[in-house]
């Protein structure tokens, strides 16, 4: 599956309070959560992000709380894919579980600037920077995680196995 969009660059240790502040955690509606995604971190993102855009971040993206509201808010905001050097472990699991594509790639994060146009091929594990013409490789997705994705998420995965 291919995604196209513009890059929104973020720094290191983007925590889940930055992604979705805890004061909104009594909300479960994805659309309502999306209205507050990254509002403390970058208010411009909230106003100008377009369907398909991508978040590009440094290390330890999604650290902090276990709130699944964080990947849900990002996905509902229309973000097609997150590219980071590394992820906090609970966020990593949560993203796969709810079907938010996330990619690990040091070289891509280095070679992408705010606003660059990107094309991501999830199957090939390739990130193309259409602004500069560079192509980057994503770290391969662990086969076990791929199985969860292929099944359509964790709930579908366990339902299939128990049948």
């Amino acid at each position: 599956m291919k995604h196209k969009g513009r890059a929104w660059k973020f720094g290191t240790n983007i925590d889940t309070d930055a992604i979705i502040p805890a004061r909104y955690l009594n909300v479960t509606d994805p659309k309502e959560l999306a209205q507050h995604c990254m509002e403390n971190e970058n208010p411009q993102f909230l106003k100008e992000v377009r369907e398909g855009d991508m978040i590009v971040a440094e290390t330890n993206f999604g650290c902090g709380s276990s709130r699944e509201h964080a990947p849900i808010a990002i996905k509902a905001k229309g973000i097609s894919c997150v590219i980071a050097k590394s992820y906090a472990r609970i966020f990593y699991r949560n993203a796969f579980n709810i079907g938010l594509p996330i990619i690990e790639s040091d070289e891509a994060v280095h070679g992408i600037q705010d606003g660059h146009k990107l094309e991501v091929d999830l199957e090939k594990g390739e990130i193309k920077n259409e602004t500069t013409g560079q192509i980057f490789k994503a770290n391969p997705i662990p086969p076990f995680m791929q199985k969860i994705i292929d099944d359509g998420g964790l709930i579908e995965h366990i339902t299939k196995r128990s049948c």
Binding site: N13, D15, D17, A18, P21, A22, R23, L25, N26, V27, T28, N40, E41, T59, N60, C63, G64, S65, S66, R67, E68, H69, I72, S86, A88, R89, I90, R93, N94, N97, I98, P142, F144, G153, L154, I155, I158, T159, S162
Partner: protein, 426 residues
């Protein structure tokens, strides 16, 4: 093969003789925990999966603590949803407000989690139970739903980093300072995906309250779990409260470690984590003049009886600064009652503090002490991210209960020694 305590618990819960770091396993779960902000999504996933019953009505634990007693209508709806689910599933470990407390203080206190357990909770501070010698880790709502349905969950066996603490503790230095110092040394992703194993002569004599505080903040270094070897202190703590049979595991001599870090604690003074990361630590003598508007003593990190006693020792005979709000939150009803009976409430009220019922409230900027733009708070909580306790332009400084209490009196971040308080170890 020689294994770490974490490997042994995971192997036993998988029915394997041994497991090695990096191995993917499907392990049996002893306790699956949710709260009023994570369980509503879990329940939605449970329904989506077409599940009818939880795997074991005694092992699914639901606690309203984050925005409970209900802070607003939306929170009330979530708590109601969770309660109705608990009733439908006949859960024995659902605790209503009045019996409920902050989950990570309540579960060990009530003997719901025991040494040797494998615990998952849809709350990142689920790692707290490592203090008892359990493997315990935070997951998201969907993972929790899977565990609630099947009684199992997949894990990648982590590598372990061993942390050894030797030397002599300085006055007013405890578990909170050791863990803040450690996170300051290794960073907020210093133990990413790894297990943190805490050991050394200081740990051998560290009370359970200090161990719970340290294990609680393993997540702030990115760790999957933090763990202690159970010993006589563990036995004393769990004996009489454990609701199930428990088992003590320990690491083998030849167990493999990714890294070993040794600290001479004699050099460690009370720590303060400056905004906006728990790793941004300084010794109290280097804090400078930071004037505060609020002090919070409580949370799953430091809301236990030992913490309140420590705060009371500092506050006795003092009035807090007229510029400061001091909010004290005993973490469970039992702690609340004991603190009251011991006379701690008189000391707190005389000092000018307000005492809240058990809730996570202010720690995550929910309610019961939210900060305005530009306000600064010192807190015994676990996170000081941007906007964590309220307005994005407010600031949170993390410390132990004694430093938070002293700071409330001084009106600025400062040490109990400045007030002439005399240290007695808990």
């Amino acid at each position: 093969m020689d294994m770490t305590i974490t490997q042994k618990i995971l192997a036993d819960h998988t029915g394997l003789k041994e497991v090695h770091p990096g191995q993917l396993i499907n392990a049996k779960v002893d306790i699956a925990l949710g709260n009023d902000i994570t369980a509503p999504i879990t329940i939605e996933k449970f329904r989506e999966a077409g599940a009818k019953r939880v795997f074991d009505k005694h092992r699914v634990v639901l606690i309203p603590d984050h925005f409970a007693p209900n802070k607003d209508i939306k929170s009330a709806e979530n708590c109601k949803l969770m309660k109705e689910f608990a009733m439908e599933q006949e859960l024995t470990e659902y605790y209503e407000v009045g019996q409920a407390g902050i989950e990570h203080a309540l579960l060990p206190e009530q003997g719901i989690v025991v040494p040797g357990d494998l615990v998952v909770g849809a709350d990142s501070h689920t790692c707290t139970y490592g203090a008892l010698g359990a493997f315990s880790t935070g997951v998201g709502s969907t993972d929790l739903a899977a565990a609630m349905i099947t009684g199992e969950l997949w894990f990648k066996v982590p590598e372990t980093i061993k942390f050894i603490y030797n030397g002599k503790l300085r006055p007013w230095v405890g578990g909170k300072d050791l863990i803040l110092y450690t996170i300051g040394e290794i960073g907020v992703d210093g133990a990413l995906y790894n297990s943190m194993e805490f050991t050394g002569e200081i740990i051998d004599s560290l009370p359970m309250s200090g161990r719970l505080t340290m294990a609680n903040m393993a997540i702030e270094a990115g760790a999957k779990n933090g763990i202690f070897y159970p010993d006589s202190i563990t036995e004393q703590y769990v004996n009489g409260r454990a609701k199930r049979k428990y088992r003590f595991y320990t690491s083998d001599k030849g167990a493999q470690y990714k890294d070993i870090k040794e600290f001479d604690v004699s050099k460690i003074e009370p720590q303060v984590a400056f905004p906006h990361l728990p790793s941004n630590t300084k010794g109290i003598s280097e804090a400078g003049k930071v004037f505060i508007d609020q002090a919070v003593i409580g949370s799953c990190t430091n809301g236990r009886l030992d913490d309140l006693r420590m705060a009371a020792r500092v506050l006795r005979g003092h009035k807090i600064s007229s510029n400061v709000k001091l909010i004290i939150i005993p973490a469970t009803p039992l702690i609340y009652r004991k603190a009251m009976k011991e006379g701690l409430f008189d000391i707190f009220l005389d000092a000018g503090a307000v005492i809240s019922p058990p809730t996570c409230g202010p720690c995550l900027g929910g309610y019961m002490g939210v900060l305005a733009k530009g306000e600064k708070a010192i807190a015994t909580t676990n996170r000081n991210f941007v906007g964590r306790m309220g307005h994005p332009e407010s600031e949170v400084y993390l410390s132990n209960p004694a430093v938070a209490a002293a700071s409330a009196v001084l009106g600025r971040i400062g040490s109990p020694e400045e007030l002439g308080a005399i240290f007695l170890s808990p």
